[in-house]
Symmetry: C2
Subunit: 306 residues, 2 copies
């Protein structure tokens, strides 16, 4: 048994294969960005902030960073637009909020929190969610705010690949972001945010705003945020699956995460970050890499890519 941590934070910035051109010369930039996110979370939690406030703030930081596929720097849809999804969940109350198809809200994770706190609903999508955003007063930006040249070129490559009938399916775009935390009060929380997949069509929604798939938190078991192939996370209710294995199968957090990543999901599907009531975070993936970081009250502080 490890000693209980008073607080704990873990983050991810996406999982997948690691295109050389995307990492070349930038590994340190990714470590730095992940380190900033972990540091922000650690400072908040050390100071007594709630896990809910912390995961929201950390995900906002990652949304604002163009390195990641969430908020600024998100991937483009087939039509050349950007449609963002996010979710947040509080382990104490099981309250949760999720949004999908967001086009003008600077920080979708904050809109998800407004859904949780200011509506009787859990999940708002599309134009309706945008109308709600204007009513509750979150930061609105022009869609051009999210645009980065690198993501635009990714879309152009994908469109060329489609038009030449190349056989290989596109690699899931690395960069979905997420955070899980335990605070000094013993409360767990999780949040996730993404631009989805490059070249997605037809209003595709992935796992991120599907509570139980990409995001889940329950004080009795764990807080989980997923990254990878959204459709596989949905099919296997990946985040809640970890919780259920702990609650009903008597697994430890490490066992439960390990089973879902290595046995339930297939190699290449993605990764999970999770933290339980004892504050020992677990970060696992079955892809070439997962941008990740963790810190806790025992002095742990790390960031990783492969």
């Amino acid at each position: 048994m490890t000693e209980r941590r008073e607080w704990s934070i873990a983050v991810h910035g996406g999982s997948g294969s690691m295109p050389k051109e995307r990492l070349a010369g930038r590994e340190q930039a990714f470590h730095d960005a992940l380190g900033r996110a972990v540091t922000l979370g650690a400072e908040m939690l050390r100071g007594g902030a709630s896990s809910l406030d912390t995961v929201e703030a950390v995900v906002r930081l990652l949304e604002d960073d163009p390195l990641f596929n969430a908020g600024k720097g998100a991937v483009f849809t087939h039509e050349g637009t950007i449609e963002l999804d996010a979710a947040i969940m509080e382990g104490k109350t099981l309250e949760c909020g999720a949004v999908a198809g967001i086009r003008t809200v600077k920080n979708p994770v904050t809109l998800a929190r407004r859904v949780m706190e200011r509506t009787p609903h859990v999940f708002l999508a599309g134009d309706g969610a945008e109308a709600f955003a204007r009513e509750v007063g979150v930061d609105i930006v022009d869609p051009s705010y999210f645009r980065t040249q690198e993501r635009w070129e990714e879309l152009q490559r994908e469109l060329r690949r489609e038009s030449t009938n190349a056989v290989s399916l596109p690699t899931p775009e690395m960069g979905t972001v997420g955070a899980v935390a335990l605070d000094r009060e013993g409360n767990l929380a999780a949040a996730t945010s993404t631009g989805g997949r490059t070249n997605k069509r037809f209003g595709r929604i992935g796992d991120v705003p599907v509570i139980g798939a990409g995001t889940y938190a329950n004080n009795r078991t764990c807080a989980v945020s997923a990254t990878g192939k959204g459709e596989e996370m949905i099919r296997h209710f990946a985040a809640a699956n970890v919780s259920a294995r702990i609650e009903h199968g008597g697994r430890s957090l490490a066992q439960a995460v390990g089973e879902v990543v290595r046995e339930v999901l297939a190699p290449g599907d993605g990764g999970l970050i999770a933290v339980g009531p004892d504050g020992v975070a677990v970060l696992e993936f079955n892809t070439e890499g997962m941008f990740r970081g963790a810190a806790d009250s025992s002095g742990r502080f790390e960031t990783g890519i492969r």
Copy 2:
């Protein structure tokens, strides 16, 4: 131990409180409608149809029936529009499809099946899902097709209640429909379809298209369709929760459904229908009533309201 059924079908037509004015003089009409759905399912399964084909056909029948809050006869949004959600899942492969915010597709459950079979995605929403519908060629109708006078008057009552600041929250609208089935090959499937809640706003999505919440199927455990307060079903990943209790907690289907309906959900939240590999269907609810029906190869044939 009960004997294994060769095939089994269960359906629901929504759960909730039972407004007298909605049932008055129509109880037999509801029994008849549920009986037709069960009979269709039983005839298909007896004849060797797959559980997937069966739940789709049965849900289509219920979508087409104006008595229920799905397809024709769906409830109205705050804006006086109709936005439909549906999902379908196959227990053998864990393949699944879901749609949300549908306005012109006559049978949303069939569109959900097209998502499952003809895209790499699971979940399409809004205008994108409508564009996909046109591309794959499902029956398109004018939005006025879905309109019934009774649902329109329900919306007007809700809007009046809102404007007078009445305290009580609206009762979740009865009438979401769903089906679960076991076929002769031993394959399970589940499907669910709904108009959501009367007076819903902001592109609200409920549990129906959230795989694991309103709909789940896995040959190893069960097929489940939920009806009731969607936000509660999402928070507790109700349908997948039943599956997880069987898989990891060693519960029987009846125990697992009973725990979720009576311990995890709160009184008044709704109900679940479920069937396992042995074909014995379980139908439970914690509301005043649930429109429901079941039949199997042992000769069971029943419909119920309270």
